[in-house]
């Protein structure tokens, strides 16, 4: 049985809950009192992850940290459709990895702004917001040009990949850090498409898609 060390309001933990829901993977949740308890800095947790960060996933004897790394592991091991992280498509794997790194950049900016506003982290809020807007502009343009070519997802595939899951949560939660998505229409349309993937689940602060417009 897979165990996810989890905090409900963490976008990085949500990435894994989301993929496991898409893939129908059974798992057990161990709640970690990230806030206000700072349990991710406790002795027992630091033994699991010396970096003191969520999420951590345990599958039999394997213990993994880092949301992006765990996404790769889960898709490679459990995705029988080979679509989320296609093992035999080197170009696509390269693209996905590029956007997994980009997702880390979103965490470093948009998520940091949210931690500042909601949980009182001592970050430079203006730098965090400006950094998030720079990344959102790049993502929005990329998605807009993709739409012109008939592409719905971040990577060049006719289906969503890990890149979409990795970028989605902290884009979706950005307003909690004072980062509006008003100027990013292609991002907003893409968020709506992600919400319509079969098996989609929400987290606190993310609402389901509204009813689809009739054509």
């Amino acid at each position: 049985m897979i165990t996810l060390y989890d905090y409900e309001l963490s976008g990085n933990c949500y990435k894994l809950r989301l993929l496991m829901s898409f893939l129908g993977i059974d798992h057990k949740i161990v709640p970690v009192d990230f806030y206000p308890g700072r349990e991710h800095k406790s002795d027992w947790f630091l033994k699991l992850n010396p970096l003191g960060q969520l999420p951590v996933l345990q599958d039999d004897d394997l213990i993994l940290r880092d949301a992006q790394a765990i996404l790769v592991y889960l898709a490679a091991k459990y995705d029988t459709s080979n679509s989320w992280y296609p093992p035999n498509n080197p170009a696509l794997l390269g693209e996905i990895s590029q956007w997994l790194a980009f997702a880390d950049g979103i965490t470093g900016t948009a998520s940091a702004a949210r931690l500042h506003d909601a949980l009182f982290y001592d970050f430079d809020i203006e730098t965090a917001r400006a950094g998030a807007h720079r990344l959102f502009r790049i993502l929005d343009e990329h998605l807009w040009f993709g739409e012109q070519e008939g592409r719905d997802w971040i990577c060049s595939a006719p289906h969503p990949t890990l890149a979409d899951i990795a970028c989605f949560p902290y884009v979706m939660l950005s307003e909690e850090g004072g980062i509006s998505r008003q100027d990013y229409p292609a991002i907003r349309r893409w968020c709506d498409r992600v919400k319509r993937i079969k098996g989609f689940i929400v987290m606190s602060g993310v609402f389901p898609a509204g009813p689809a417009k009739t054509a």
Partner: protein, 303 residues
């Protein structure tokens, strides 16, 4: 004289007690800084649990060790319901009562203190609203088709100077961390302070008693708060962190709704926003704030 650009001039708000932080979450005698009504304030809790609050000053910075004997120019300070409270004006002797807090078999904890970009009155009004349960707290505090807010009673108690909403009933799939099935749950809401509300809801464990959940809004500015969530509940099975997780999940769902309210300050003119029958307690709340002559965090009725 203070020469800050922007401070609160509302005497009603200045003279109230306001929460600053959970006592359990600060190391003893270590200075913690926060904000209240657009002013920087600092506080510390001594080893004996005595609380000290002062306007922030050079020479006593966050992380410093406080010598309780050496600090002067203190603001009024109280420790109540697990939090440090202070006032920037001349407060009444006592903070409003929550008698259940003295019951020894209850679990008492701060579920979380969250920063929210909203005015305190908007946040209180949302807390009073049951109509949003099925849509915002789907499968937890409500579920379609159980969307009706049944008739309930609201009174403004003159003696206690507080709003009381009673006979509130709602079908909830999972009313608390101690629930194992859906139930029709009874609610009583009190608003004993313009920025604080106390909710009583039927306990899934004991039909003769009620869980107490309070929200204490610390106004950082007119449109920014720290929301402190106090729990005083009957639950003898779940770990603290499971109880906290349940409440944080609920609050995390409300947060984007609160932050998207427009205007951010609460309009007190009855014609400003169109209420429905379910908003009875909100109407009473706005009227009560108006009668107090409150101006901070609200848009007062134009004369």
């Amino acid at each position: 004289m203070m020469t800050q650009q922007k401070t609160c001039l509302d005497p009603v708000i200045l003279n109230l007690w306001h929460p600053l932080g959970a006592v359990d979450e600060v190391a003893s005698c270590i200075v913690v800084e926060t904000e209240l009504l657009d002013e920087r304030v600092s506080f510390a809790v001594s080893e004996e649990g005595k609380v000290f609050v002062w306007r922030s000053r050079a020479g006593l910075r966050p992380g410093d060790r406080l010598d309780p004997l050496a600090v002067d120019d203190l603001l009024p300070a109280r420790s109540a319901y697990g939090y440090v409270w202070t006032s920037l004006g001349a407060p009444s002797d006592d903070i409003f009562p929550i008698p259940e807090y003295a019951e020894t078999d209850r679990r008492k904890l701060n579920a979380a203190t969250f920063g929210v970009n909203v005015s305190a009155p908007r946040a209180i009004e949302n807390f009073l609203d049951m109509g949003h349960f099925p849509y915002v707290h789907t499968d937890i505090l409500g579920v379609e088709p159980h969307t009706e807010v049944k008739e309930y009673d609201v009174e403004i108690s003159v003696d206690r100077d507080e709003i009381l909403a009673t006979r509130c009933r709602f079908y909830q799939p999972m009313a608390s961390s101690a629930s194992d099935s859906g139930a029709e749950v009874e609610y009583i809401y009190r608003v004993p302070h313009p920025y604080c509300s106390v909710l009583y809801k039927s306990s899934p464990l004991d039909e003769t008693r009620m869980d107490v959940i309070a929200v204490f809004m610390q106004p950082l500015g007119e449109e920014r708060v720290r929301a402190h969530m106090m729990l005083c509940v009957l639950d003898n099975t779940n770990a603290d962190k499971a109880i906290k997780r349940f409440q944080q999940t609920i609050f995390g769902q409300d947060k984007p709704i609160l932050e998207n309210q427009f205007p951010k300050r609460l309009p007190l003119d009855p014609r400003a926003e169109t209420p429905i029958r379910a908003d009875k307690s909100a109407i009473a709340y706005r009227r009560w704030l108006s009668q107090k002559g409150l101006t901070y965090g609200v848009i007062p009725v134009a004369n």
